[in-house]
């Protein structure tokens, strides 16, 4: 069964980053968000995702170094949200 939180995060990524023409179904749980292999997002996208987490889940990410790990795949974001949700 699909994990609801991960699916929710996928659609929030799409809207936060204006990923026109991409649907949640196009992204698997472990699609790398950055680099040429996956969605090809860049460092500014990562920062938009920081704001998205704050807005949608009230979670703060203030260090650029940890951001890299958290945002590696939709599943890793979901895991971080689960651990840190208030």
């Amino acid at each position: 069964m699909k994990d609801n939180l991960t699916e929710d995060i996928k659609s929030k990524i799409i809207s936060a980053l204006n990923l026109q023409g991409v649907s949640p179904a196009d992204i698997s749980d472990d699609t790398p968000l950055f680099g040429d292999e996956g969605l090809g997002l860049d460092s500014v996208d990562a920062l938009e995702l920081v704001v998205m987490l704050e807005r949608e889940y009230s979670i703060n990410v203030s260090e650029q170094s940890t951001a890299k790990e958290i945002f590696s795949t939709p599943a890793s974001i979901a895991e971080y949200v689960r651990k840190n949700a208030k």
Binding site: N18, V22, D42, S62, Q64, S65
Partner: protein, 722 residues
């Protein structure tokens, strides 16, 4: 033709350590810092951050804080110089700023959004071009005046332009400055990029965690060596070489391998051709990305012999558009004092760093120093200052330039043919910014804002049409003039900061808010890695970009260029202009937008569409009669007899007084017809960029373009449609 040699004859600084260059240099040697929380405005999110706030200046009404800081530095730079001996028409002003007086604009928006109090007049501070205008008026300069706004490299581009103007005999004396004040947009913008240090910055340190923003203005007075000698001025340093290029890699991040900076350094050294570089005043911001890329560039450019290098950011903070001028001034102090400065804040080297920055100051015999500044969009610029004149003469190209192709994105269409069909119809005044971008996949353009799309559309068409003329992407520059830059992204970001009390920032809007966002987007898309510039000079922004691109090609820094101008409609600009409506004819009823770009080089191609015969930017005559005389002289200089001109274009005529000046000029130009571009396209600062295309639509012949700004600068262009 043999170049004149630019020399530095004056320096002034206003920063966190006051407004004395020598005292600031001593503070750098003593590794002092002045970092403290800012008290300019309430900052719920960044209240604990440390900044380097400027002191030693007067906040003079009706100027912005930024102008106050700038005038303090300029005053110091000219303190002991008698410039009355110089021909005022041969004194030019080149300013650099990232955000100009945006702080005052923010205050006005804050009042408007939170208290519904209108202070729309304060929106004028947003216009970066006012910096060069105010400085030019203050010192009585009557040569060209323009302001570069390429984020953190702004004042280094200004310095390069001044060196071009002097070496190419356009000017005898140039005032160069960079100035930036603190603002909500920069604090929250860099905050949104997680680039603000939690404490004090640690340039080149393994544990660096970001920047401290600072405020400063640095001013340099440059003269030609012969003019300086004739006037008996003391030479502080010779400018041995200068260069600018672009990474064309990412809107904010530098190339991680530092390749753009490496080729910049190689270019600087090869045209320098004398002695060893004793030290590098590095950009050294203290961010993860900058410092490692910059060090990689040093290693690749110098191999095992990296010169002593240092960063002054702990002392001054990152002063954005001013940082290039500040670096230059510190570099010259080190040259003349024979002291290599330390890097305050540095203690633990980066991994794999063989050559560490200096920890303590040390005495040395210094012949020449390299100073660098690297900005958003991979916008790189550098200068080498030397104690002695070089033994060999440099040359510059004094031939003609050809226009090979045109690209447009206008309310009346996105190609010359389409525009021709719609030109006589009334309106509309808005562009469809998606035109000509159909072939770019949505994911690739998802982050581009409207003005970037309009400019990119024009640049792509110009590049496509140029065919073989742009065959060297590494040496192709992109110079886009703009009156107002990315107004809507800037407004969106500031509104959000004010209304959300700094929560939920908008990183993409911030990276898109810089004036060079359109030129960066074009360079990244087209892979053009020469000079990348955004120049602002109100109605003559296009001509200023054209001037800069041609000067850069004359000096050999680039071999071909995409030159254009772009401005977009903005509701705030509309509101602001309506406050001025009583002074001017039909102001703001027809506020428009658009972009136009041309491919230009010195090689005539089979399909070249135009030849630039003359381009002169200066203060217009004090009276209509004097303006007529100036134009008559320029016509003679261009060897164009009166009556040869088919049409004289002008971007807009805003009032009766300006009409008198235009009439006086037109009398000497004696064109078959005159054409006010505003009547065709509506009102936009980029209107003059349409002129060459409009000439092409009219057919072969010689055309003129007479453009005038509200600050009484004038550009006069003569071109021939082939």
């Amino acid at each position: 033709m043999t170049s004149e040699r630019p020399v530095v004859v004056g320096m002034g600084l206003c920063s966190a350590c006051g407004n004395d260059c020598a005292a600031a240099f001593d503070a750098l040697l003593a590794k002092r810092d002045f970092l403290a929380p800012q008290k300019l405005f309430d900052s719920p999110k960044h209240g604990s951050r440390l900044f380097a706030q400027a002191k030693g200046f007067h906040e003079k009404k009706p100027y912005s804080r930024c102008v106050g800081i700038m005038l303090s530095a300029v005053g110091k730079a000219l303190e002991n110089l008698d410039i009355r001996r110089f021909d005022k028409r041969r004194i030019c002003v080149f300013g650099g700023t990232s955000i100009g007086g945006v702080f005052e604009t923010e205050n006005a928006l804050s009042k408007l959004l939170l208290k519904n109090e209108e202070d729309l007049g304060a929106l004028r501070f947003y216009e970066c071009s006012s910096l060069a205008d105010i400085a030019a008026k203050k010192i009585g300069a009557k040569g060209c005046a323009m302001t570069f706004s390429t984020a953190c490299s702004s004042s280094s581009l200004a310095l390069a332009a001044a060196c071009d103007a002097i070496s190419q005999k356009e000017a005898d004396l140039c005032l160069v400055f960079g100035a930036d004040a603190l603002s909500r947009i920069t604090i929250n913008g860099f905050g949104s990029l997680l680039l603000l240090s939690k404490d004090k910055c640690k340039p080149f340190d393994k544990d660096r965690d970001g920047i401290n923003l600072g405020e400063a203005a640095g001013a340099l007075v440059l003269a030609s060596e012969s003019a300086a000698m004739a006037a008996g001025l003391k030479v502080l340093a010779h400018v041995a070489s200068w260069a600018c290029n672009a990474d064309a890699y990412h809107p904010t991040a530098p190339r991680p391998d530092g390749d753009g900076v490496k080729s910049l350094i190689s270019k600087l050294i090869s045209s320098h051709g004398m002695g060893n570089i004793a030290s590098i005043a590095a950009h050294g911001t203290g961010t993860a990305g900058n410092d490692s890329a910059e060090y990689a560039a040093f290693r690749d450019a110098f191999g095992e012999n990296i010169p002593a290098y240092y960063s002054n950011k702990r002392l001054f903070g990152h002063t954005l558009g001013a940082s290039g001028a500040v670096n230059a001034i510190m570099g010259i102090c080190s040259l003349n004092g024979n002291i290599l400065p330390p890097t305050p804040g540095f203690s633990v080297p980066l991994e794999g760093m063989d050559m560490q920055p200096l920890k303590e100051p040390s005495k040395a015999n210094i012949d020449s120093v390299l100073t660098l500044s690297l900005g958003f969009g991979g916008n790189n610029a550098g200068t080498i200052f030397a104690k002695d004149r070089s033994s060999k003469d440099a040359e510059f190209f004094d031939g003609q330039f050809f226009v090979h192709s045109v690209g447009v994105s206008s309310p009346k269409g996105a190609s010359p043919e389409e525009i021709e069909n719609n030109i006589s119809k009334a309106g509309p005044f808005r562009c469809d910014e998606e035109r000509n971008l159909e072939s770019i996949p949505p994911l690739k353009k998802r982050k581009l804002a409207r003005l970037q799309k309009m400019a990119l559309s024009a640049c792509i068409k110009a590049a496509e049409g140029a065919k073989g003329a742009l065959k060297k992407p590494l040496n192709t520059s992109v110079c886009i003039g703009t009156g107002l830059g990315m107004t809507n992204e800037t407004a969106k970001f500031i509104e959000n900061v004010i209304l959300n009390r700094e929560a939920m920032p908008m990183p993409t809007a911030f990276t898109n808010s810089v004036h060079n966002a359109p030129s960066s987007a074009a360079a990244i898309h087209l892979g053009f890695r020469g000079l990348n510039s955004a120049v602002t000079a109100k109605e003559i922004s296009f001509e200023s970009a054209l001037w800069q691109a041609m000067a850069d090609m004359r000096s050999g820094n680039s071999s071909c260029a995409i030159v254009g101008a772009a401005d977009e409609y903005s509701p705030y600009a509309d509101k602001f202009l309506k406050t001025r409506a009583r002074y001017c004819r039909n102001f703001a009823d027809n506020l428009s937008e658009g972009a136009a770009a041309y491919a230009i080089s010195a090689d005539r191609q089979e399909g070249s569409i135009a030849k630039i015969i003359l381009l002169k930017l200066e203060r217009r005559g004090d009276s209509p009669k004097e303006e007529g005389d100036l134009i008559e002289r320029l016509m003679r200089l261009a060897k164009v007899p009166a009556g040869r001109i088919k049409c004289c274009f002008t971007p807009s005529i805003v009032n009766k007084s300006q009409k008198k000046f235009f009439d006086a000029a037109a009398e000497k130009i004696a064109p078959e017809e005159t054409c006010c571009i505003e009547d065709l396209f509506g009102k936009s600062y980029m209107n003059s960029a349409y002129a060459i295309m409009l000439g092409k639509l009219r057919g072969r012949g010689v055309y003129a373009l007479w453009s005038h700004t509200s600050s009484n600068l004038r550009a006069f262009t003569i071109f021939e449609i082939l």
